[in-house]
């Protein structure tokens, strides 16, 4: 996707003229979509993905500018370069969508996700869970004599790894927020 050469800070309105290379390789992209915070806008975005058969790996949305009525939707999606280009162009068509950023190609970016994991167990397993949590810099936000709830922040990969380790130690429940992402630098 380096061939795309999208300028940093470009949005859907300037990404039209790109000449994507049409490979069949499925790529993972993180898109940041700035929208008017109005009724139904999330349904429009989600409906676009389901209606046109695109994938959503994760999606987060929250208001980012109360006075300006703006929300930011972060979508992790997968597809061939052609499909990814289509997704961006289709998002750009939605009337309340103001900006579409492809953080995966617009330069370096940071991605973080928060997860809560409930681990139940006693004895050595409980001690091991706590030890691993310490290594992963997960913090304990709730504790009983038979369980912990850990809070962990990091990339989705890190959370996957932590969850995998907790599974044999008595993982009972996971709640994840999905990815929030920003480009690096000013």
């Amino acid at each position: 996707m380096a061939a795309l050469n999208i300028k940093k800070g470009s949005n859907s309105h300037s990404a039209y003229n790109l000449r994507p290379n049409f490979s069949d390789v499925i790529e993972k992209h993180t898109l940041a979509v700035v929208v008017d915070n109005e009724a139904g806008v999330l349904a429009r975005v989600i409906g676009l993905f389901s209606g046109r058969g695109y994938n959503i790996d994760s999606l987060t949305v929250a208001e980012i500018d109360h006075a300006g009525h703006r929300s930011r939707i972060t979508i992790c999606t997968t597809g061939t370069p052609q499909v990814i280009e289509q997704i961006k162009a289709q998002l750009g068509r939605i009337v309340p969508v103001h900006e579409v950023h492809d953080l995966t190609v617009e330069g370096p970016s940071v991605e973080r996700e928060l997860a809560l994991l409930k681990v139940a167990g006693e004895g050595e397993k409980r001690v091991e869970a706590l030890r691993l949590a310490d290594i992963f810099r997960a913090s304990v936000v709730d504790s009983t004599l038979k369980s912990f709830v850990f809070e962990i922040t990091g990339t989705p990969d890190k959370i996957d790894a932590f969850a995998d380790l907790m599974r044999p130690l008595g993982l009972v429940e996971v709640a994840r927020t999905g990815v929030a992402a920003l480009s690096r630098g000013a």
């Binding site: 859907s12 349904a43 162009a89 289709q90 750009g92």
Partner: protein
Amino acid sequence: MTRQMTGAKMVVQALKDQGVDTVFGYPGGAVLPIYDEIFQQNDIKHVLVRHEQGAVHMAEGYARSTGKPGVALVTSGPGATNAVTGLTDALMDSIPIIVLTGQVPTFMIGSDAFQEADTVGITRPCTKHNWLVKDTNALAATLHEAFHVATSGRPGPVLIDIPKDVQFATGTYQAPVKGGSKRYKPQVKGDLDAITELVAALETAKRPVFYTGGGVINSGKAASQLLREFVDATGIPITSTLMGLGSYPASGANWLGMLGMHGLYEANLAMHGCDLLINIGARFDDRITGRLDAFSPHSKKAHIDIDPSSINKVVRVDIPIVGDVGHVLEDLLKVWKSRGRKVNREAIAKWWTQINEWKKVNCLSYKGSETTIKPQYALQRLEELTKGMDRYVTTEVGQHQMWAAQFLGFEDPNRWMTSGGLGTMGYGLPASIGVQMAHPDALVINVAGEASWLMNMQEMGTAVQYRAPVKQFILNNERLGMVRQWQQLLHGERYSQSWSESLPDFVKLAEAFGCKGAKVDNPKDLDDAIMEMIKYEGPYILDVLVEKHENCFPMIPSGKAHNEMLLGDADTQGAIGAKGAVLV
């Protein structure tokens, strides 16, 4: 200018301020306040339809024939759901229409109230944008924005859902602001570098072809003028999609005819053999491209489109130009002229020699008959007898539609109204009424198949009520012709449910509606029957009994390339493989 008024009055005021002269609609509980306001004014004509789908198709016909947005007004619940087909049709064909729906009062939304439906939810995927207005103070601005969104950029249908209490309540009316909405501003000017790149490619191309679509017509009459100037100055052959017919005149020297699944042999082979393909306002639809990996294999491709998502959607292009067709054509001409009006005349002359060879195949030829009216013959006669007239043509969907596209010639844009993308049977009759409302003195003909026509035949009542002298030219083969053709070619001649049993007597039906009808089944009587239809001052149904088993050719079977066209019944044996059969 701001003033206080009820929401219902705002609706009427906003329509007036937007220059609307005609509204197609059907009243119901949730729009009664608006109907009350309509009753108390004379500036806007309301056309009472017989079914809400008809209202939306009429608005489409009005819009396509005038270039102005069409307006429909329907009630909540079933009124709104009945509008869905028309909205989807308008979305697929990029037709600017505004549909106003009533809604149950805001305090009852979500309670499964009588005639409540989640209208914005249902119509979200079939509108360009839609709004539920919960505050009367926001109503005027929303209405104006709706007109702006429907008509700017790639046009399309919009819907405004107005709860009944919002119609009753009083609020502040705002007049439209110049320049429309701040938040929706599509790019209209094309990138000059890309335009220059296209000009450079055009200067040296040996076998160039223009492939134009509905975007030229949507861009306005000026775009068609620029296209004509450009095509005639360069001498490059031009073909068009179903939606784009009329943007370049059918009598023009460079015209190849329609391309695509039932397009002309010379047009499709030109697409296959060209070295520069210039797509202007078309979208590489699957009816056009045939098998994608064999589509125009040797060409450099340029694509001018106002919608960035059209570019590289199905066909990868080398020179993408995002912008309004009219603006881009203007720049294109300017750059081409400033660089010395160059084209490779010698090579293009050779290209024409080749194309003229293809033309000799005479792909629209068919076996005539002394005793039976061939549908192609019926359309040839219709063309011959009406071509000089101030004529607008609508169609239903099916074989007759393709024959109409092949045999009727369109000299100007906005003269041809047909359901392209969605392929909506039942489109033509209401659309013809919409066209007639906009052009009261013109000759408006709906070329129909009997099965399609029956889908919205209730609208004959509308035509009679408003004395809209629409001519229903029904090619009656007592079959779902296109379905039957596919079953013959693809399903071992098992004609499952594809005949029209128990058809009405269309002449008596016309009488029942209070208009005139006639039947013709002999080729010798056809001319007189057509002339009678044209001369009659009022709505007219001409039931033309045609050959029942005629197939529509040329045909690119599903899953095949442009150069694998079938030219007649002799070509059809085993023409479509299992892979093609799964395609539509």
